[in-house]
Amino acid sequence: MNPAEPIRLLQRRTFLKQTGVSLGSVALCSLLDPGLLRGAPQGGKVEVPRWTGVVRPLHSMQRVKRVIFLTMAGGPSHLETLDYKPKLAQMHGQPMPESYTKGQPIAQLQGAKLTCFAPQHPFKKFGKSGQEICEIFPHIGTVADDLCILRAMKTEAINHDPAHTFLNTGTTISGRPSMGSWLLYGLGAETDSLPGFVVLTSLGGFGQGQPIASRQWHSGFLPGQFQGVEFRSKGDPVLYVGRPRGVDGQRQRDVVSAVQQLNQMREGVTDDPEITTRIQQYELAFRMQTSVPGLLDLSDEPNRILDMYGTRGGDGSFASNCLLARRLAERGVRFIQLYHRGWDHHGGIKANIAATAKEVDQGTAALVKDLKQRGMLDSTLVVWGGEFGRTPMAQGNGRDHHMKALSMWLAGGGIKGGITHGATDELGYNAVEDIVTVHDLHATMLHLLGIDHKRLTFRFQGRDFRLTDVSGNVVTRILA
């Protein structure tokens, strides 16, 4: 089956419904140069329908409209971020009890002697709620009362690439849609001039820079229109958005206008509905050529905002991307995913994780505060976390990959702030209490968006696939 077929039908249906309402539609003629129209048949107003998703009506009340997923790639140590383990400090240097590790999968420590490794930084109680957060996050500490910390998460893969794929798509097998694509497919976006799923990355300087495959924001078996679009800090911010040298704005516009008109003339001859879609897509593309630079131009941000994030922008830093995330959220982008690629601390974790934390701390906290002061936090879900945790055992003076326990935090609409949910054992090896799986996280995220994760499906290879595969439970206890 061609999966795009029912979608196209739906799209057309949507289009019909929206004609006359003009929600998110603009006239093609707005960009046509009248000079070029001489002799051309006057095409009527061409509306650009917006994809409004297959989940209509919503399955349940929508608590948030968008998600900002702050992906800490490389696997941040839960033991130096959100999961305080004094007992591990006491056992520093002693052999890791075999009862924990026997028969368990192990990554780079295969065959090595396993010894306990104390948390490398102290924790502090923050906010009115007294949430325990590692000292290396003084700024995030200031929003502790807005955070729901998930301490008992676990995942299914122990190496970066499959664990990332699992976090983003709910399976380690390639070719499945990422969560942003599912959301876009389910709900559409609230923008006509930007992609509905945007990815921003920053490298970081204190861990091995994690390779991130474009699979992580791919639409898999969903149609290509639901793919994430990466915004880059160097070169064209969106691939191919820049005009060719020697072609100014007006000339580009002339070319696009001519393409649109010739396409319209052809539609009259061949009666091909795809031409209408093509015309709409050129319209969107043309709009992106102005909306993207507008988005990236921070000259309208007051100094106090720039200071709050700790960036002047334009440098591809995580802080700068946090600010852009807010701007994207304001413009109606549905799923905004930020990557910081520097969390793989196999060695020298004490200094390196502190330095990496510094790269994300201020920007992240500023994002939460900024959304809040604009009244947008209520309609946004912010997620902070990586693909797995790290071993309580030493790998030299660092920690190895660990899939049995990891921590994340959530903030935003529908989420109880100032609480910590779940616990690991006393050494931080296994998630033991109120375990939250990646599927549970996805189910909860979809729930907040008004989607029943079991009902957002797509038939592929004879099966109705979904983001949560065959499991996933909404974590109701963290919901406000």
């Binding site: 190496n159 699979r215 691939l239 070319v255 061949t270 290879q461 004879g462």
Partner: protein
């Protein structure tokens, strides 16, 4: 979304005619008139979708111990009642449960989110009334010979395909659309068969060809084109997931391009499909496999692999195993066997044991669980020919050097006298020894060369200790000489394979006679002809094992030698054995001498010179009186003399040239990954797919019996058996799957709509009889792919116009009944190929390594281990077809991604066809399209006179193979006038535009004019029509 009804067209048709099912409505066509409800067509889809998950093949999920996919189970007595009772819906428990009024006991349970429509319930009722007859799933029944239907009215169909299609159309009151016009057909056939646009001349010739064979002639020409193989490869490479990188984590390069060329050649040479299948699955297991067959077996190595540190070998071997099952099943069987990795299939009769038994077929393939996969060098047929040619030239040249030459014999006699005299006078000659035994501690391969030097190849370890055993009859040994020599295989002009430099940390000699244990020989002094500052040769004989002799081999060229003098002469004589150790144990990795040679001397003072060195056997033969020499010794002397005789210098030079040429050819031989069989790994059923679980049953290679039993008894089956099973006449799926996918290429959708699932959850074929007929025809034609293609594209069904009347659109919105052609966007690669072709930039070369056209800088910034940059190619490699673009799995070229090319991480049998703003951005701004436009502009300006009208007509013919409409002309004339005026004022801008891309800028044409026409060319390359096959 559940667009289920279209999956079952007949059902949809029935329902639309009669909401209550079948009663009383006037229906078209015989099969519907009979009112016969067929299990496969009507009932199985309902049961599969709604019931099988709990009452199907998966024993672990089965509820109430009831299977509805099994006839015996459904009719079994369950203690006074049965799920089904023939003819009696009201006593059938199944029917009672699906019609129960209270929600709590109704099936399917509400919590599953599934429910039956009134129509579905009615169909089930009638089916039970009619006897509730079960059928094996259609794709499990081998294709049946079907009678070709007779068409009642009108013109008789052109071929068998048309007969089947027309028959189905008539049942529905549909009639075929008229044939498309020749221009459209010319374009359609060209894109479908070679993936390129036709030239205007080809179109003209086709339009004018009045012969009834015109189409066949046109098709034959396309099928004979080398580009046909490229077009088919675009499809096949998606299916088999061919890519240039390993896909996981660091996503590193792998050498596999020869496999791609194998596929292109196979389609071009019309390799029978059964051989194509066999060579890919098991080419390495065929008797005396050819290089081509070995390359084909690279198929089994196309999966994703990892090199990530910390990856556990056992886990990844399990992943690779599952990957091969999942994908091989998708590629050939069209069954979703991947589902059985963790549990029995929920819809199809496939078990978890089937999955692991299938995996066992591939257990013999040598894999590196974590790390770089092994590669081999395999010459192409051209290279094999070239080497054969050089070898024969070499042989004749060597024969020339060996043949008796009286004039040389005198010269040789004189030389012998001189050499003997010299040996008597000054015993300072070095005698070069051929080692008797060699060993490398680091597992390098040491090979003796004709000049008795020793070359290190294969693995290049970080450190190495060479142990060399020498045997000599020479007496009074006073010293030993070590030469370090360059070699072309190093890849550098130095003396070692690493960076060209070496560090010899210790040079040790021990000696023995007549089989005694060797005793260390004390070395008192050493001298070398070059010493790197800080690394004098005495460091090789001092007590410190870490210091050593080095020679700046990375920076200074030239062979080097060192001489080591013994503290007192060894007596030597017959039976003397010397063991020499060359230790390379410094902190500098891979600083091991790459080629060396050892010589002995009896000179009172060993000289640091090689002037009079002689190979040991030459020295020995010289020592024997002329009359007493054996023929062998005579030949040794003759050969040696001829290797130094000034009279033969020209021949020797020629020999050297030939040897160099051969060496160059060998070095250019492509490397590739192939299947290499070893002892099979143990394969167990992994419970819930858990690779840590070692308790599961051990299984042997076997095929799913529900499809077709393998039939191998009394021995372990192998991949060759699997291949035979695939192409067996009794295999129910393989031929159908391929035929159906081929059909999709030419009609836009399959006869079975989902191309990747022919099981219970797939769809009923719209034309089952046609599918069977084609499958049998394919097999009986000797698996002749071109025959099948020709049948399809010469049918009237194929030739119909793609334009549909309103009535037809209403009657058949998805074109299931084929009363018109499909219309679709070109595949990603062809979008590129088309722009290059119409601009004249396209390079028509077939095959070779993958190439790197322009790609935005920094696009690979997210790759690591190692960090790398896309190194753009230059020259003609920039203008190769998209099928040759370097396929990086994690970051595929963004222009290909924009047009839905898959990453090829998994088998993809059908690309989505999206229509996105990214596509517009690519066509507008990707330099390759801008360059194509400016080069097309140059052609327009050069070849079609001065008149704008004529130029536009030329441009339309090039790009769209048609003439422009007056309105189109007018619009573009306006654009030209406007932009010409602008670019005349902005010559700098025009010049900038014309510099995009590497193609030279014409010097003799007005840059403003070119820029204005570039605007026109850009418009044309961006048109929907340009990238659409109608």
């Amino acid at each position: 979304m559940r667009e289920r009804d279209w999956l079952c067209p007949v059902l949809a048709g029935l329902v639309s005619l009669s909401p209550l099912g079948l009663g009383g409505a006037r229906l078209h066509g015989q099969e519907v008139k009979k009112h016969l409800i067929e299990f496969n067509r009507h009932i199985r889809p309902i049961l599969s979708d709604n019931c099988f998950a709990c009452h199907g093949p998966d024993k672990n999920q089965r509820k109430a111990d009831l299977r509805l996919d099994s006839e015996s189970d459904a009719f079994a007595d369950r203690g006074g009642y049965s799920a089904l009772v023939k003819g009696k819906p009201d006593t059938s428990e199944l029917f009672k449960r699906i019609t129960r009024s209270d929600k709590s006991g109704r099936m399917p349970p509400a919590k599953t989110g599934k429910h039956l429509t009134a129509q579905q319930v009615e169909l089930i009722r009638q089916w039970i009334e009619q006897g509730a007859k079960y059928e094996k799933h259609w794709s499990l029944i081998p294709p049946q010979h079907r009678p070709v239907p007779k068409v009642a009215e009108g013109e008789q169909p052109r071929n068998v395909i048309d007969a089947f299609v027309r028959w189905r159309m008539e049942m529905r009151g549909l009639a075929p659309s008229p044939e498309a016009d020749r221009r459209t057909l010319a374009r359609r056939l060209s894109f479908d068969l070679v993936g390129l646009p036709p030239s205007p001349e080809q179109v003209e010739a086709f339009v004018k060809d009045a012969s009834p064979q015109a189409c066949a002639t046109y098709v034959d020409r396309l099928l004979a084109s080398k580009h046909y193989g490229e077009r088919m490869a675009i499809y096949w490479l998606d299916v088999v997931r061919f890519a240039d990188t390993n896909g996981i984590h660091g996503d590193n390069h792998r050498e596999i391009a020869p496999y791609r060329d194998y596929v292109i050649d196979a389609f071009n040479n019309n390799k029978p499909f059964d051989r194509f299948v066999t060579e890919q699955l098991a080419g390495d297991l065929l008797p005396n496999p050819t290089n081509e067959q070995k390359i084909a077996s690279g198929f089994n190595r196309l999966l994703m692999t990892t090199r990530e540190g910390g990856a556990q070998p056992k886990e990844y071997l399990a992943k690779y195993s599952a990957d091969r099952v999942r994908n091989t099943a998708s590629i050939f069987l069209g069954y979703t066997m991947g589902c059985c990795e963790c549990h029995d299939h929920k819809f199809d009769p496939l078990t978890q044991k089937d999955f692991y038994s299938f995996a066992a077929f591939f257990a013999d393939i040598k894999d590196v669980a974590v790390g770089e996969q092994p590669m081999v060098r395999l010459p192409t047929p051209e290279q094999e020919n070239e080497i054969r040619k050089i070898d024969s030239e070499l042989a004749s040249l060597r024969a020339q050097l060996d043949r008796p030459l009286p004039e040389l014999d005198n010269a040789q006699a004189r030389w012998e006298q001189e050499a003997k005299a010299r040996r008597k006078d000054a015993r300072d000659d070095w005698i070069i020894l051929k080692p008797e035994k060699l060993a490398s501690s680091g597992k390098a391969t040491l090979a003796i060369q004709p000049d008795h030097s020793v070359l290190s190849t294969g693995k290049n370890p970080a450190q190495d200790v060479y142990t060399v055993t020498l045997r000599t009859d020479q007496k009074q040994l006073t010293g030993i000489r070590l030469e370090a020599l360059s070699h072309p295989s190093f890849g550098n002009p130095g003396l070692a394979r690493g960076n060209g430099n070496f560090v010899l940390t210790r040079f040790e000699v021990s000696a023995a006679k007549d089989g005694a244990k060797p005793q260390p020989v004390k070395i008192v002094s050493a001298a070398a002809d070059y010493e790197q500052p800080g690394f004098p040769v005495v460091h090789a004989i001092d007590a410190d094992p870490k210091t050593g002799w080095a020679v700046d081999g990375h920076a200074k060229r030239g062979d080097r030698m060192a001489v080591f003098a013994f503290d007192r002469p060894l007596p030597g004589g017959p039976g003397t054995v010397l063991v020499v150790r060359l230790r390379h144990e410094s902190q500098y990795t891979q600083h091991n001498i790459g080629r060396f040679r050892l010589s002995l001397t009896s000179a009172a003072k060993p000289a640091l010179s090689g002037k009079n060195a002689l190979l040991a056997e030459v020295a020995q033969a010289l020592g024997v009186e002329t009359s007493k020499r054996t023929p062998q010794q005579k030949q040794t002397l003759t050969r040696y003399f001829r290797s130094i005789a000034p009279q033969l210098e020209p021949q020797r030079r020629q020999l050297a040239v030939l040897e160099k040429r051969k060496d160059d050819v060998v070095k250019a031989e492509p490397q590739t990954e192939i299947s290499m069989a070893g002892p099979p790994r143990t394969i167990r059923i992994l419970r819930r797919g858990n690779w840590l679980d070692d308790a599961g049953e051990i299984v042997e290679p076997n095929t799913p019996a529900s499809l077709l039993p393998l039939g191998v008894k009394g021995r372990r089956a192998d991949r060759l058996d699997l291949a035979k099973w695939m192409v067996s006449p009794d295999n129910p799926v393989v031929a159908r799957v391929f035929v159906n996918r081929l059909w999709k290429l030419f009609f836009g959708q399959g006869i079975v709509k989902p191309l990747d699932d022919y099981g219970s959850q797939g769809a009923w074929p719209t034309h089952p009889d046609l599918l069977d007929w084609l499958a049998i025809e394919f097999r009986e034609s000797g698996w002749d792919v071109k025959h099948l293609v020709k049948l399809m594209v010469l049918s009237e069904t194929y030739r119909q116009t793609s334009k549909a009347s309103e009535k037809l659109k209403q009657a058949d919105p998805y074109n299931q009944w084929l009363a018109r052609q499909g219309r679709f966007r070109l595949d990603a690669e062809m979008v590129r190929d088309n722009a290059l072709a119409v601009s004249g930039l396209l390079v028509h070369k077939i095959g070779g390594r993958s190439v790197k056209p322009y790609q935005p800088a920094g696009y690979w910034a997210h790759l690591n281990f190692p960090i790398r940059e896309w190194q753009k190619d230059s020259g003609e490699e920039l203008y190769r077809r998209g099928v040759y673009t370097y396929w990086c799995r994690t970051f595929l070229h963004p222009s290909l991604v924009a047009f839905d090319a898959p990453s090829r991480e998994e088998c993809v049998v059908e690309r989505p066809r999206s229509n996105t703003p990214q596509q517009a951005l690519v066509l507008l701004n990707d330099p390759v399209y801008v360059e194509a436009a400016r080069v097309l502009a140059e052609r327009i300006v050069r070849h079609s006179g001065k008149d704008a009208d004529a130029r536009l007509r030329f441009a339309f013919r090039q790009v769209l193979q048609r003439s422009p409409q007056p309105t189109e002309l007018k619009l573009l004339q306006g654009l030209v006038v406007q932009h010409l005026e602008q670019y005349r004022k902005d010559r700098a801008g025009a010049a900038e535009l014309m510099k995009i891309g590497d193609f030279p800028v014409p010097k003799d044409l007005d840059v403003s004019e070119l820029a204005a026409w570039t605007s026109v060319a850009r418009v044309l390359l961006n048109l929907h029509e340009t990238i659409t096959r109608n």
